[in-house]
């Protein structure tokens, strides 16, 4: 086997390395900087050039080597290369070839393009290790400009009433994607510290984001009426958010497709927007790999695996410690959705 499933994570014996391991190892290839994929404690890291700044920001002093997308690198008897996954800026699928046999680890991916991430690129392989966070036919996403219109429409309506728009979005990826869609002519954009830190990292590597104002303790909300306030979901109900009154609250996530989750979140508006592939996206991506063997890692694995099997693909479920598996962990603490 080119890749094996070990207690520490996905392992390549030919190159003696792991991909997104969840326990400390000697050599780790990292698909992207989210906490469930890029964990601390490894001796050596390898990532794409554009994923590196966020990883350094989150993991501190690490030994990190980088490669460009598509650049082939020999590690032991394995040839590895990184290919855009369309999930967040810098995110990659990792292709591993050993003696002509090709495996691809998807990490997290999204097939629809957005304005920031390098667009998803299907990679042909024999075996494909895929996430399936939203592997149910009820999950389909609208095109990004439709969601942009919804968010800006909501913001403009709130601003007209003199209300703040408090929007929850994960601080790495989702928040910047929302930023890239906002129409700054509506009003000022304020950001929570967690969001602003990531903004700074991504701006420094050349990504174009609209101007934002970091919410510091001495900021006077009254000076910014009708502002859009971007914060991690957890901050929405906190004392931090209380300074912005009156307000309407919103949340951007793929889970907002489900009414039950919207209601449980108790926000005024849910925007369906995910950094993961929807049902058509997952199916299209898997078809385009042309792979004979599919390994599904996190998400609705039981159901999705049965669906793939019935479509004639060899499919196995691989238990991992990637999140996005449970809805509530994903919506509450993770960066996965």
């Amino acid at each position: 086997m080119v890749l094996e499933f070990k207690p520490h994570g996905i392992y390549c014996p030919a190159g003696d390395f792991f991909i997104d391991p969840w326990k400390p190892v000697d050599r780790a290839l990292i698909t992207h900087g989210h906490a469930d994929h890029a964990r601390p404690g490894h001796q050596r890291y390898l990532s794409t050039v554009s994923a590196a700044p966020v990883m350094r920001h989150r993991l501190g002093e690490i030994t990190l080597e980088t490669v460009h997308y598509g650049e082939a690198k020999q590690i032991g008897d394995a040839t590895v290369s990184f290919h855009p996954a369309g999930h967040v800026p810098g995110s990659a699928q990792i292709r591993v070839e050993v003696k002509g046999e090709v495996w691809v680890v998807s990490g997290d991916y999204k097939t629809e393009p957005d304005r920031l991430s390098e667009p998803f690129e299907p990679v042909r392989c024999h075996s494909f290790i895929s996430e399936c966070t939203f592997g149910l036919p009820v999950f389909t996403w609208a095109q990004e400009d439709i969601v942009a219109k919804e968010i800006n429409g909501w913001w403009a309506a709130n601003a007209a009433k003199g209300m703040f728009s408090l929007l929850g979005a994960y601080s790495l990826g989702k928040a910047q994607r929302v930023l890239s869609l906002l129409d700054p002519s509506i009003g000022p954009i304020l950001t929570h510290g967690a969001v602003e830190n990531t903004n700074a990292v991504l701006r420094a590597q050349g990504l174009a984001l609209p101007d934002t104002l970091h919410v510091t303790p001495d900021l006077d909300p009254k000076a910014h009426p009708g502002a859009m306030v971007l914060a991690p979901p957890g901050a929405l109900g906190s004392t931090w958010a209380r300074r912005f009154r009156p307000n309407s609250t919103g949340f951007a996530s793929g889970w907002m497709r489900l009414r039950g989750v919207r209601r449980r979140r108790a926000v005024d508006r849910g925007f369906v927007m995910s950094d993961h592939a929807d049902w058509p996206g997952l199916n299209a991506a898997i078809r385009e790999t042309n792979a004979e063997n599919i390994y599904v890692t996190h998400g609705y694995t039981d159901i999705f695996a049965r669906w793939l099997k019935e479509s004639g693909l060899n499919t196995e479920i691989i238990p991992t410690e990637f999140t996005g598996e449970t809805l509530d962990a994903a919506t509450d603490d993770g960066d996965a959705a």
Partner: protein
């Protein structure tokens, strides 16, 4: 239906009461008049009958979505709502329309008269012209399962805002036996009230629960009257025009379910309306609620059941006498007039007064309360002597002071995911008591934990599933919960031999290991004492 769908979406999503009210009020001003009438009907539980079985809808939806039926069925519990699951799996609409709510309701009611093929064609065509939200609302109307998280009170307030009419008057007009087929917006809301509907009940006056401090803060005991709080069905007995009507508090007409109450006509004059509790009666005291339960589900009652669980009304208020609305008369006087009417009734009459309990101090009342279970009551009602009969729930004049529930420490053994708002959380649990080394399941419980606790237990269930039986997971017997309940009765349908009334999770006993949970003997002892 787009206007109605937008209203539904706003009401469904916002948590702010003021927004809900103003959105509804706006709708009641500018929506088409037939749609307003249907909206009032839908929001007060007057739903069109189910036009198509859900089995058919699932099949058609899966077929249209080009997915196997099993995949649809697997998605359903995750979404937690059938109408929504259908709406989400279908491919995007290819056309658009903007026809009114009442037009669509007319269409779906007409499906009744069509053969299956035309029904299917009509439904597929409808789906193909609607967005996901609109489809969901349409499906809810199709399946007869339309519900909305808006109280009657809030809707009435919005109607009052929209029409400038008095809220209490509107609440009364909305009661009773109307449907959009038997009335119009004009007649129901705008025109002078003809009072033509003889069966129409008054809006029920509802009580708030007293908090842990008890009644001490209510002021002078002499200003208050107390009664037992019975565990039956709150109902209104109406005698008008030579007929009688029985309404439940849920506004269900229950006249035929309780034929013994017909004899009230032999004793009481026309133009009388009584508020009271319908209970199963053993001749001297109420039977446990599960005796009444057997009666509730039945539209016609077999003789044996009539004999085993005869019902009476324990009357506690007089709302109308000689055709005169008494609701503004002080409670003490209404109560005196009620006692005057009922005092002359023979022993075997199907109604009797629920006694006023004398008390001099709050302390004596507290002592009385502690004996409620012996009286087969679930606590006390405390009502201000000078109070009118309010419309709906108003704080300050009517209080319920329930007994503390019975409790037992039990072990969680099965878990199942919830629906709707609680989809994807494990919220439905089965609990067991110990029997030697065995665990005997004895109750289910769904409520009582906070969202945070539900999330915590959900994560735990996922990691500690031993076995799956369809949607039910058997989990490691590790967690003890304190289960609170209102009553306990013998049951042959349950393995444990008991059934509980209103079981819920009171506390997660992190401090208790499984071997300190209660036993089947403890449960039997409670049955002997309180059953």
């Amino acid at each position: 239906m787009k206007r109605f769908t937008a209203l539904y979406a706003t009401l469904d999503q916002t948590t702010k009461t003021s927004v809900k009210t103003s959105e509804m009020a706006g709708y009641f001003v500018d929506a088409p008049v037939e749609d307003r009438l249907w909206t009032v009907a839908l929001f007060s539980g007057r739903r069109p009958r189910r036009a198509i079985t859900t089995t058919k809808l699932r099949e058609w939806a899966a077929e249209r979505a080009d997915i196997p039926l099993w995949l649809f069925e697997e998605s359903y519990p995750i979404v937690g709502d059938l109408a929504e699951t259908i709406a989400l799996v279908l491919p995007p609409a290819t056309r658009d329309q903007d026809e009114s709510l009442s037009t669509w309701i007319g269409r779906l009611r007409a499906l009744d008269r069509q053969d299956e093929e035309s029904r299917k064609a009509a439904v597929l065509e409808a789906w193909d012209q609607m967005g996901a939200q609109e489809r969901m609302v349409f499906n809810k109307l199709l399946t007869g399962g339309f519900r909305i998280g808006v109280s009657r009170k809030l809707m009435t307030r919005a109607l009052a805002q929209a029409t400038g009419r008095d809220e209490a008057e509107l609440a009364h007009r909305l009661m009773g036996d109307w449907t959009p087929d038997t009335t119009t917006w004009e007649a129901l809301i705008e025109a002078p009230d003809s009072g033509a509907d003889l069966s129409r009940p008054y809006p029920f006056c509802l009580a708030y629960g007293l908090d842990d401090d008890g009644p001490e803060t209510l002021g002078e005991p002499k200003d208050w009257l107390a009664e037992w709080k019975w565990d039956g069905i709150r109902g209104q007995l109406i005698l008008r025009g030579g007929e009688h009507f029985v309404w439940s508090r849920g506004e269900e007409l229950m006249t035929d379910r309780f034929p013994e109450l017909a004899r009230a006509r032999d004793f009481l004059p026309d133009g009388t309306v009584i508020d009271g509790e319908i209970v199963a009666w053993d001749g001297t005291a109420p039977l446990p609620f599960n005796a009444l339960q057997k009666r509730i589900g039945r539209k016609t009652v077999p003789k044996k059941l009539l004999k085993d669980a005869p019902v009476i009304v324990l009357a506690y208020d007089l709302l109308e006498e000689n055709g005169e609305d008494l609701r503004e008369v002080p409670f003490a006087e209404r109560r005196a007039r009620l006692d005057a009417i009922l005092g002359t009734l023979p022993e075997d009459a199907p109604l009797r007064a629920s006694s006023v309990l004398p008390f001099k101090s709050w302390k004596t009342l507290a002592d009385l309360r502690s004996t409620a279970r012996e009286e087969r009551a679930e606590g006390l009602m405390i009502k201000r002597a000078s109070s009118p009969y309010h419309t709906g729930r108003k704080k300050g004049d009517w209080w319920k002071w329930k007994l503390d529930p019975l409790t037992i420490d039990a072990v969680m053994i099965y878990a199942q995911q919830g629906h709707g708002r609680r989809a994807n959380l494990f919220t439905d649990f089965t609990f067991a008591v110990r029997d030697g080394n065995e665990l005997v399941p004895f109750t289910k419980a769904y409520s009582g934990l906070t969202d945070a606790e539900f999330r915590k237990i959900t994560a735990w269930v996922r990691k500690n599933t031993m076995q799956r039986f369809g949607p039910v997971r058997q989990v490691r017997a590790e967690h003890v919960f304190e289960i609170a309940f209102e009553g306990i009765a013998e049951s042959t349908r349950h393995k444990s031999g008991v059934s509980l009334r209103f079981p819920r999770m009171k506390r997660w006993r992190h401090d208790k290991p499984v071997n300190e949970a209660n036993t089947i003997e403890d449960l039997r002892e409670m049955l002997a004492q309180y059953g």
